[in-house]
Each structure stands twice: as C-alpha cells, then as structure tokens.
C-alpha cells in the first residue's frame, strides 16, 4: 500500500466523521441532509480508493449506485421538509430532536 493510498482512506474517514458529527448536532433539516451527503461522499471515496488498490472495477460501479441512492434520498428528504415547512414555517429548530429516547 502506497502512502497516498492510506491518505485517501484517512481523508475519507475524517470526512465521514465530520458528516456524522454535523448530522447529530445541527438542527436545520436541510443541513442534516447535506451532512448525509458528506457521509455518502466519504464512502464513495473509500470505494474508489479500495478499487484502485485492488485493481478492481467493482468499487467504481458501486459508487454509481450510491449516487443514485443519494439522489433518491435527497428527493424524499426534501419532500418531507417541504411538507413540514408548509405546515410550520419556522421548521428549522427543535422539531426533530435527535438522540432522545
């Protein structure tokens, strides 16, 4: 493994955890959606990096599917946000309280 390969993996891990952290602490649903995108991008980076290291194309093809999933997720998430904001215009704050039992 080249040192730059380790760099890709470490970068992806940091990106993933930034996304996870942001999703848990931010309260604006749209920003949470962006944090999900950060996490998925980190996974994509990992897949392509492993694919390159293994000399395998499967990593790249998988990223294509993740892209489709990300697009579909954004549509569903934005749909719910729009429906909710229509009822409750200030819907940025505590309407979803993550991590509450």
């Amino acid at each position: 493994m080249r040192s730059i390969d380790a760099g890709y993996l470490v970068l992806a891990a940091i990106l993933f955890s930034i996304g996870a952290f942001g999703l848990l602490v931010r309260r604006n649903p749209l920003v949470m959606l962006m944090c999900v995108e950060l996490m998925l991008n980190a996974v994509n980076l990992t897949f392509v990096a492993f694919g390159m290291m293994l000399g395998d194309l499967a990593g790249q093809v998988t990223v294509l599917f993740v892209l489709v999933v990300a697009a579909a997720e954004v549509v569903v998430g934005l749909g719910i946000v729009v429906a909710m904001a229509r009822r409750r215009p200030g819907a940025t704050a505590d309407d979803i309280r993550v991590l509450r039992g």
Binding site: M39, F47, F50, L54, A72, E73, M84, R100, G101
Partner: protein, 571 residues
C-alpha cells in the same frame, strides 16, 4: 474517423456475456414491482371511478399472487415432485440456487420470508383500507408504496451481494419514510417521517461504510466471493482490521433498522407520530427484512468471524430485552408502549441471530412469522381505537374497551397475551425457540436475562388487558360506538387465526422452518454468446469478461437467443 476508433476497440466487436436469469425465481419480485406500477397507472387513469376498494383489492391480490408464485420456488428448493413447476426444471437442479450472476439467491430462507412478506403486505393493505375509509383518504400512494417497499424487502431477504442488500434496504426504507410522513393533516406525521428519514439515512451511511471496508478487506461485495475468500484465507492481525471494522459498522447500521438498544431512539417517536396503518407495516416488514439481512450477512457471510460479532450482538440483545421491557412499563401512550415492546421483541430475535447456528436461524424464522402477525394485529386494533384522525392513543382511550366493544377488546387481549408469551399462542413458541437457541449456543445467561425480561413485559401487557376489561364502578363510560371497518376486521381475524393456529399446532411451522436454512450458492455457469474477439484480447480483459469467479465460460452453453445484439460490421 469514428469507425477506425471502433475498430481499434475490441470490446465493441463481440457480444456481452449476460448472466443467466432464472425468470421463475424472480417472479415474486416482478409481480410486486409490476403490481405497484400498474396500480399507479390505473389510479392515474381511472382513479376517480374505481376508488379505494379497488386499490385495496389490487394490493391484496398482488400480495397473494406473489405468495402463489413463491410456492413453486419452495417446491424447487425442497426438490419436491417437479410437476408443480411450470418451467423447465432441467435448467435448474433441485435445491437452493442463485441467479442473475449470483446477485440474488433462492434458498429456503429467502422463499419462506418472501411468502411472509407477501402475506404481510396483504394484511397491512387491509388495515390501511380500514383507516383510509374512515378518515376519507382516497389516495393510491399508500397501497402503491406498500407494494414497492415490500419489493425492497424481498430483494433484501434473497440478496447474495452486499450492494444488492443495500439497494433493497434503501428501496424499503425510502418508501417507509414516505409512509410515515404521509398523513399530511397531522404535522406530527411529518415530524415522525423527518426523524425516521434523518436517522435512517445516518444508519444507511454507516451500513454502506461497513460494506466499503469489507470490500477492501475481502476484495468483493458478493457474499459468494466473500465466503470463498474467507474459507481460503485466514485473516489475522492487521489484515483482519478492515473486515472487523466493516462488520461492526454493518451491525450498527442494521441495529438501527431493527431498533435495538442503543440504536432505538427513533422508534417510539416515529411509531407515535406516523399513521398507525403505516406503523403496522414498518414494525413488521422492515424488521423481517432487516433481520433477514442480518442473518445473511453475519451468520452466512461472516460465520468465520462469529467469535468477534457474537459479543456485540449479545450486548445489543441484553440492552434491548431489558431496556425495552423496563421503559415500556412507564409509558402511558399505547403506541409508544408497543414501540418499546417491539424493541424487546427485537432483543429476542437477536438471541437467535447471536446463536450463529442452525438452531438460532430457526428461532429467528419462527419468531419473525409469529411476531409479524402479532404486531400487525396489535396495530390494527390501535388504528381502530385511535378513531377518526388517528389521535387517541393514550391508555385512557382503552379504559373500559371491553364494555364498548367486546370483540375488539377480546382480539387485543389474545394478541397481547401472545406477545407476552402465554402458552397456546404463537408467542410462546417464538420465545421458547429463542431461549432454546441461546442455551444451545452456550449462552445460558442470555436465556436467563430473556426470561426475566419476558416476566417484566408480561406485567406490561397484563396492565393493558386489565385496563380494557376492569373498570372502577364509578367510572363513566367512554364515548360509545367504535365501528370496526370490515377490512380491518378481516385482517384481525387473519392475525388471530394465525396466532392461535401456531400456538395450538406448531408442528407445520417448525417443519417448514427446519427446511429453510440460509445458504449462499455460486451462480450457474454464465452463458457466453459467441465471442469472436476473445482470442485477441489482453489477459486482464478476459478476467473482466469472466466475472465473479463463475468457473469459466463453457463454449457449449452458447445460447443463440441470448441477449445482446450482434455488433457485426464494426470494422
């Protein structure tokens, strides 16, 4: 000019070797996906004329037909009399097999759960029809999303590739997020949908990251290749790091979906806010699919790492069993109470997964079959008692239900007693097999914890039963009149019948479950249409053509009718 480029590119001059597709094996999936699409088409063309009864009828029929198409598959897997099969049985020998290049497996496990999902869709559609009729909702999207979501669940139970598993999970989850947020009249419904969506996407990302790390550690996402690789290579020390991390992240992702403590925080709020008929679906089908995925990934795919993942599942199981039962005790909202009780049920099913054995998988299957009908029935009752607007879910709404509607209260009593694990109900055998599996797997202490939590949970169900039947003399009678919609009534009869049938004669279920072990099977030899360019290709390209270790291309399996257009005339 472009022609000369084409001539230099050898790939364009031969046909693409498409994987063998066993259409009968995919028939349940096709029926479901097509059923959902046709339903949408009909509704958009004739929606005003046909109305809700047609949507319900269509959804139930789709579920039943999918069930019917799965029956011959069961016969095929079991090697029964081949005359039941309407396709040419010579192509696929008896026993489990996989198709579409090994992406989708047909074994006893997947066929049984496919049937269960199909039935669950039919029953859930009946429950949904009851509430939408009462509340005057005439939308087709609910039934259509039920069907499409269940398609994802069916993909998951048969997935032989982690990417296919992930995509099935997303199909299932995205539809369920919408089902949760679908009641546009109540803002709580959208809050529930948003909460479910955000935490669901969060857990999906963890699951996917786990897949990525496993890909790095084993070189493939196909379970066939992974099991083969792990059987040939002993991963120790630093070379096992990626696989171990990947397993841990995948377990975390799936634990979110089954709402195991400490990944449960979404479930009470979502169950509370979402429309009750949607909750019936998400509490049953989502759990079936997620546990099927868990069994397939852990017990089948990574059984060589059982010593590493079993402790994680033990912790999850204990926390879910005890936490679910204890927190449920203090709930005053019946939907939240059932949410915590389903967390406790998840703990029991985790016992079966944790056992990492055939006995454990059998326990999982028995529990899933019993639990599915119990939970759908329970939420069907809740949807009726919730009354128009789906808002009355406090314990007080159930006070004196036995006087208002003895039939409904009696039904709910049977279902609750079954959830408590009383003998002569399906719940008893479900819990029994889970405990047996734990003892069998040398974790008797888990069995003790499970039985203690069952005792705590029994108090909880009994409290609800007492609330329904025994009223203080001076208590005023609640609002009279609680009509049971006909469709919901049918669903309740089915659920109670299954619960009592399994409880009184468990023989048929256990003998079916005994024949349903999950396996991964290599795909059949790929069909290679004539490939004249093969000789001149670089060796790396041959690997690319051969695909996932499918054992080479037999030139005799040339199928003149195979897919791919003859791309002659390029030079």
């Amino acid at each position: 000019m472009s022609l000369s480029i084409l001539a230099q590119t050898p790939l364009l001059t031969e046909q693409i070797p498409t994987p063998v597709v066993s259409w009968p094996a995919l028939l349940p999936l096709i029926v479901m996906a097509l059923g959902g699409l046709l339903l949408l088409t009909f509704a958009s063309l004739f929606g005003r004329r046909v109305g809700t009864p047609f949507f319900t009828w269509w959804t139930v029929m789709t579920g039943l037909i999918a069930f019917g198409t799965a029956v011959p598959l069961w016969a095929q897997v079991q090697g029964w009399d081949r005359r039941v099969l309407w396709w040419n049985p010579e192509q696929t020998p008896a026993g489990a097999f996989s198709t579409v290049g090994g992406a989708f497996g047909i074994d006893g496990f997947s066929v049984l759960l496919t049937m269960l999902i199909a039935l669950a869709v039919a029953v859930c559609a009946l429950v949904m029809a009851g509430t939408s009729e009462r509340d005057g909702e005439r939308h087709v999207e609910g039934p259509a999303l039920l069907i499409l979501s269940a398609t994802g669940a069916m993909v998951m139970v048969g997935a032989n590739d982690l990417i296919v598993l992930f995509l099935g999970l997303e199909v299932l989850s995205l539809a369920v997020y919408v089902l949760a947020a679908m009641n546009l009249r109540r803002v709580q419904s959208q809050e529930a949908g948003l909460k479910y969506f955000v935490l669901g996407a969060f857990s999906s990302a963890f699951f996917l990251y786990g897949i990525a790390l496993v890909y790095g550690g084993t070189g493939s996402t196909s379970l066939v290749n992974i099991t083969g690789f792990l059987a040939d290579n002993l991963l120790l020390g630093s070379s096992s790091v990626l696989v171990l991390l990947g397993i841990a992240l995948m377990v975390a992702g799936l634990a979110f979906k089954v709402a195991a403590v400490p990944f449960h925080s979404w479930s009470p709020d979502v169950y509370d806010g979402a429309p009750t008929s949607s909750v019936a679906f998400m509490a049953s089908v989502v759990k079936i699919a997620a546990f099927a995925g868990m069994v397939r990934v852990l017990v089948v795919g990574f059984d060589t790492f059982a010593a590493d993942w079993r402790p994680i599942l033990q912790v999850l199981a204990v926390l879910s069993l005890v936490g679910g039962a204890l927190v449920a005790l203090v709930q005053t909202n019946v939907k939240r109470l059932l949410a915590y009780s389903s967390i406790s049920h998840a703990g029991f099913i985790l016992l079966g997964v944790e056992a990492a054995s055939d006995t454990g998988t059998r326990a999982v299957l028995v529990y899933l079959v019993a639990y599915t009908f119990l939970v759908i029935g329970s939420f069907a009752v809740v949807s009726i008692v919730g009354r128009s607007g789906d808002g009355m879910h406090s314990l007080d709404s159930y006070r004196g239900l036995g006087r208002v509607s003895p039939a409904l209260a009696g039904t709910f009593t049977i279902l609750l007693l079954a959830q408590a694990g009383v003998p002569f109900t399906s719940g008893f055998y479900a819990k029994f097999y889970a405990v047996i599996a734990a003892v069998d797997a040398q974790s008797a202490w888990l069995a003790v914890v499970a039985m203690l939590s069952a005792v705590i949970a029994a108090y909880l169900y009994l409290r609800l039963v007492v609330t329904m039947w025994f009223v203080a003399p001076g208590d005023q009678t609640p609002a009279p009149g609680l009509p049971i919609p006909a469709t919901t009534g049918v669903a309740l009869v089915v659920c109670v019948a299954v619960t009592l049938f399994i409880g009184i004669t468990p023989g048929p279920l256990t003998s079916v479950v005994d024949e349903a072990p999950p396996v991964v099977v290599e795909p059949p030899v790929e069909q290679v249409a004539d490939a004249p360019g093969l000789d001149g290709l670089p060796p790396g390209l041959l690997d690319a053509l051969g695909g996932g270790g499918a054992g080479g291309q037999d030139p005799l399996t040339v199928d003149p009718g195979g897919a791919g257009t003859p791309a002659g005339g390029a030079p």
